[in-house]
Symmetry: C2
Subunit: 291 residues, 2 copies
């Protein structure tokens, strides 16, 4: 470990497979599959291949909300893609998401199976397929999509930036932690000012913007991400806290958080979801206590 | 400048206004306006407030493509938001984008002025308003939106990650440069594999996915971003190079790149755009030479 101030990058970057910390085994400078494997396919029209990280949870909340609202066509199988094991590099997964990131969805109800990748794209796809949680009039739809896009472009600074350098990187780098802590706090303040005047992110109605933002910023503001609650002084963001608590009480949000979850209280983990009754064996009240 | 390996973060993060390098003056841990200022409004239905960075160029390419395709309703005024001067923190700008980032668009043709923020949201808004560059059938539309979302979630690693630590940060941090160089190369390889089989990003048709990805990855692969061509060995990505060259030849792409541009050859800079004839005084052929 050398003094970082003395570092001069080489002319041509080389892949050092030993660097990278906790994610060294799963970060690569090349795309494509590492092994052949066919993805399993269940009984339902919608097949989700995911993991209970914030990007995965967005989609399982949406699916559970759709089912709760009576859209029975949203029944789904949720398969576990364990990124620590490299499942995202199987040939089957790369076929449905060439970017090798969870979540990815396949819709078998539209003829030839249709792939949908990137969580933000899946949110729009499901909202339009079922006509739910995305206003159809121009003004509300536009505001909702602006906030959805805000989440897509902002969370890489919260997760890949702040979370990585504060919690996961093998060394604590002052400059990087400062850079991303400042941005994480700015983003929380953007939300806080917005939620001072509104019940939900895009206005009076609960939407895909809320579902996309909650797993990242709702959990962060409750001190449940990166053990950073005190560091970021998350209690300052009172309106985000109010909104985060409100969403956490929704049964569909609680269920969505359990799906493909592989950490925390075992009672909160539903590694795969194939039927609504799969939740019955789990203690949902424990999840409520965590929020 | 201390040895980074010895750094222990404090319990509570504090804002050090001196840190942050080149962007220290414009990065803040709080949102909201810093000063009162009303935004100018021109003659056209669409008012764009932007800067010629990759996120800004996406939108000006789209507007120029719409006009080239005969959608006269896409006439626009493009106003310069100089982020180095803090224009994004004016009360007028914060009203149309609470996130204080360019680009932001206001549509005056739909009754009460309608704000659209986040470049990805603006791309969808314009595509749907004019029925162009976004397929209407489900399969093509879904693939296009997946790639558009890929760009939104990936570019923060290329720009805010790789570009920042390789080119802009006040110190060269080996770990951070390695982390983001690896990811930048992976992302270029994702595109390269996709473009091996397709003329355009989402298939046979030119779409908003191409327009969103080109200003980031098209310029990077041509060695025009962060002086990183040799470091990233961008010539390896032959299909991305082919596609980048192809788009660079489009007159609308050349014009879009000039709008709100404040660096490079003065002949390539059109600080504000209010009329199609504004381009006439500029030497567009020089832009072609740069690609």
């Amino acid at each position: 470990m050398t003094d970082q101030t003395a570092y001069v990058p080489p002319k041509i970057w080389k892949w050092d497979k030993e660097s990278g910390g906790r994610f060294a085994q799963i970060n690569r400078p090349i795309a494509g599959p590492t092994h052949d494997k066919i993805l399993p396919v269940g009984q339902h029209p919608l097949q989700l291949y995911s993991l209970g990280t914030p990007n995965g949870v967005k989609v399982t909340i949406m699916l559970e909300e759709l089912l709760a609202a009576g859209h029975s066509g949203a029944e789904y199988d949720a398969w576990l893609i364990n990124i620590s094991d490299g499942d995202q590099f199987s040939s089957g997964f790369v076929d449905i998401n060439p970017n090798s990131k969870i979540p990815a969805l396949v819709d078998h109800s539209v003829g030839e199976p249709l792939r949908v990748f990137e969580s933000g794209s899946i949110m729009i796809y499901l909202a339009e397929k079922f006509g739910a949680f995305l206003p159809t009039e121009t003004r509300g739809r536009t505001e909702t999509l602006s906030w959805l896009m805000w989440q897509m472009g902002s969370a890489p600074f919260l997760g890949g930036g702040f979370g990585h350098f504060y919690a996961y990187a093998p060394i604590k780098i002052e400059y990087a932690i400062n850079r991303y802590a400042m941005e994480a706090k700015r983003q929380l303040d953007v939300l806080n000012r917005n939620l001072a005047d509104r019940e939900y992110i895009a206005g009076a109605d609960y939407s895909i913007a809320d579902m996309a933002i909650w797993p990242w910023y709702g959990l962060t503001v409750k001190g449940l991400a990166y053990e950073s609650g005190e560091f970021l002084q998350v209690q300052e963001y009172e309106h985000v806290n109010r909104w985060a608590d409100q969403l956490a009480l929704r049964p569909a949000v609680r269920r969505g958080r359990m799906v493909n979850r592989v950490q925390g209280d075992p009672a909160s983990q539903l590694h795969e979801r194939h039927d609504a009754s799969d939740f019955d064996t789990k203690t949902q009240d424990k999840l409520a206590d965590q929020n």
